[in-house]
Amino acid sequence: MRHYVRIYAMLLKLNLSSMMAYRANFINSLISSVGWGTFQIVWVYLLTSRITGAFGWKSGELVILTATYVVFMGIFHTIFSRNFENIARIIDYGTLDSFLVKPVDSQLLLSVWQVAYTNVVRIIIGGAVIVHSLALMHYRPTLAAVAGYVTLMLFGIAIMYSIWFLVTTCLIWNPRLGNLVDFLFNITGVSRYPTEMLTGMKNVFLYPLIPLAVAVSTPARTLVGRVLAGDVLGLLILSVMLFAASRFFWKFALRSYTSASG
């Protein structure tokens, strides 16, 4: 374990140096992060400008749900998503070999090799909107609710990570389909909506999206004091199951990896 902590600390340091060295890239990434973080907030304000609530969520709570999504994706993009963007290229060019021969778990290394520090700004934007919205609603969450919010968000991130990794693993068989990762960026937007929107439909095609919605809405419910024990249990079970599935599927897929570029 200490070995992995030391490696990750080194990766954090190297990524920081890289960010400092390429300033134009840093500024561009920063503009992009601020833009997308702000967009989500503008989006929910526009959507709730004509309604008082939806699916049992008041408009203020919908804003908190979206702001939670912004924080959530800020963390996810900082740690993981740039790596997912690279996996397609790594598999297509046959450079996955260099990851497989290292004396470290290949899934871990592929997932955390690059850190996108500029996305921290999304966490700040989302956090500020949450605080502002709670103040507008005259609602002060308890310490337990805040602790639950943070803990459940970590489990939610495990769900999101597992789903992304499961889908990205499919690139082993079809490396040319690199835009699957773009699709993931897109479909992840479902997490901004209340889970009830999907569960209420009772449509089998929407069920695969439910874990993405649960990952964000459960922590948000905790913050506004509306969470049920079943929600928490569902989130915990889903996160463990999906993470185990991502491990198993990666090892299974590697058996088909030919080491030749696509």
């Binding site: 561009n28 992009s32 997308w36 389909l177 773009d182 699709f183 937007g189 929107m197 209420g200 439909m201």
Partner: protein, 260 residues
Amino acid sequence: MRYLKIFLLHFEHVFENRAQSLVWFSMSLSNPILQILFWRGTQGIGGWSYTALTSYYLLIAAAGAFLSSHIEGDVYEYDIKQGELVRYLIRPFPYYWIKLVEEAPYRILQGGFAIIVLACVAVWFGNYLSVPLTPLTLLFGLVSACFAYFLSFTYKMSLGLLAFWLKDIRGLYSFVEILGIVLTGFILPLSLYPHGLREVTLALPFAYMIYYPVLIFQGKLGLAEMLQAVGIQSLYLAVFVVIFTVLWKRGVRQFTAIGQ
């Protein structure tokens, strides 16, 4: 005829990678579908019934697939930054038109997917799609869609040409993409935006790239409004063509032929 041959060659290539196009199309479809699901619980807002809203979002998805050009990344990354522009400069075709012929197959294939989806919705969920087409709205809709595509294409080409002067414009592209989503009506029909923002967005060229053609197909505009929309589209197109021409003439003079 020469352009047709080039178009067919590109279409062959695009069709070969149709799975990739299907993923792109799924992306443009996913958000409108989520919006449709979101508004399911409402009885309609601001004079829009639920059927009108679902039709709007489905048409927005189709218009996004058909009419939204994404050529700027190609122009910026491959042609100017990596120097591929040389290949185009030595060919006896204007750069603008050859890029149009290269991009059109993507729009046609993704638009084809959109037509299939609209047809499926019309057959199985007819209540959710209301497109009251008359010969007049069809005519104006098609003319407006053509203008919208050229508007979007010329605007994105001009954006791509900024790479002649700017070192790294990915941040700008992200910003432009976000503006596009907000100002073309992907979130909500622009007429439902809050007062002030609504007037601004309705006047900007972005509304004429997607929003107005969709309104025409939905039968929400009268003859005078349709004429006005097409007239303003042609004016905006003229402005963008001038901007493109100026950027191209100035930019290509300082192109180093080994990339920027």
